[in-house]
Symmetry: C2
Subunit: 253 residues, 2 copies
């Protein structure tokens, strides 16, 4: 199963969800590949030690631009069952660099994943905060999408755009079977704005919204700066419990 | 003075800073134009009533794609001295749509602003969370940049990329005089991670970091869902005081 974590709204916990979902699934015994498709390299920074500088040739950039086999850039992490494909800054120019390409630019990631997809139970893709060519590649390669939505006013309007983009990928026959696995509320707290947005989300998306909501919890932030996931950093925290419950819902869907 | 609010990291309060800086400057008696260059249209949603649907022909999209005069799309707001150029979803395909353009695609916004820049004391541009063609256009058109940085672990690494992009715009002679006016710490609170990041920022950027830091403050969120800026929504809140102090520092620089 190939899962994309996507939302063009910035800072809604796409990377935090991708990291902790991938880690949580690997702790349940599933073989997991985490792909960092965001040129900001946030997910890469958590799993790869800062002294281990990743060159563009050893990153997703090389796969997308120069058809390098993805198995050349897959790295093991300190955690069993969890591998990672690192990102690189240069990925941010893919839209411009691939503009003149003659092949179907939207299928590059899908074609790159075909040879390795049977080695993993789950492939989790972290996406940048935009709906450009990188995200279109992820949507084309994915079976399902998980959409983190922060419980804030600006969060709701972006969902219309996101649904339009998903429709476009389906209509263009890039990936007719693409569907939303679920919407997960992040940064939820007891403020009026937060519960109001959550209520609107459940009205609008119904059963697509996961039962699990992710609370604001500083340990999630601390885990990142300690270069690890929440289950290794603080296994009994509210953040760890929430992501553990999300992992269980994902396995069931 | 044309000011770009930029950082490719998502959710660091670019839009919140653009809105409240533009509003604060207009309350000081300066004539201000706020340009929403983010296809998510967050800044547009705050100032333009939701029932007033903006078509792509009446938005920045038309200016960037079809050379429409920007004065055709400038709208007044309920606040004196504050005008706004609305964004549109279609702006998200500018990178792909302009790939084949024969002119210098990076200068479209600069050329569009030349005829109106003398009508305003400040033009404030809100940017999307990416370093694509829209942000390059903003950098080419701007005199100075303000970089909001949230006090979180992921926030620091993006700054290297941002400085590289600024260097690129200068070297390519697109805008040799472009400079960073300042870096503003946002979402600051009393956690260890927050004060640690703030210390590292001041070490790295020195005097470029504004004295003012913006605290986490729910009234900033509430102002957005009430379609207004912080000074009209809650003038004595911590959020309003912080942005008032930032406005004063900006006027002095
Ligand atoms: N539930 C939470 N509680 C507290 N902090 C969180 C939570 N989830 C994420 N964070 C922090 O909030 C910030 C934004 O999260 P993250 O970087 O995962 O979002 P993103 O959607 O991937 O951002 P971008 O759009 O830039 O890719 C990060 O600093 C992260 O550590
Ligand atoms: N100081 C603050 N305290 C509390 N909430 C804030 C603060 N500043 C911004 N916010 C809220 O945090 C969210 C992110 O801020 P905002 O949308 O301005 O960031 P952005 O950088 O423009 O995001 P994007 O990368 O998607 O453009 C918004 O919901 C906003 O209302
Ligand atoms: Mg991210
Ligand atoms: Mg914004």
């Amino acid at each position: 199963m190939i899962l994309s974590i996507a939302n063009q709204k910035g800072g809604v916990a796409k990377t935090t969800t991708a990291i902790n979902l991938a880690a949580g699934l690997s702790l349940e015994g599933y073989k997991v590949l985490l792909i960092d498709a965001d040129p900001q390299t946030n997910a890469t920074q958590v799993f790869i030690h800062p002294d281990h500088e990743i060159s563009q040739d050893r990153s997703l950039y090389q796969v997308m631009m120069n058809f390098a086999p993805i198995s050349n850039v897959i790295l093991e992490t300190p955690f069993p069952n969890l591998h990672v494909v690192p990102s690189h800054i240069r990925l941010s120019s893919v839209d411009l660099e691939l503009a003149q390409a003659l092949d179907n630019r939207s299928e590059r990631l899908k074609k790159a994943l075909d040879p390795v997809r049977d080695r993993y139970d789950y492939i989790v893709i972290d996406n940048p905060p935009s709906l450009g060519l990188i995200t279109i590649n992820s949507f084309t390669a994915s079976d399902k999408l998980i959409i983190p939505v922060s419980t804030a006013f600006f969060a709701l309007s972006g969902l219309v755009q996101l649904q339009e983009t998903i429709g476009m990928v389906k209509q263009a026959q890039l990936n007719p079977n693409l569907e939303i696995m679920g919407v997960v509320c992040t940064f939820s707290d007891r403020t009026l704005v937060s519960s109001d947005v959550e209520r609107k989300l459940r009205e609008h998306f119904g059963g697509l919204v996961f039962q699990t909501t992710i609370p604001k919890n500083i340990t999630l932030e601390e885990a990142h700066s300690n270069h690890t996931h929440i289950f290794a950093y603080s296994p009994t925290s509210a953040g760890a419990n929430a992501y553990k419950s999300l992992v269980r819902e994902v396995i069931q869907r």
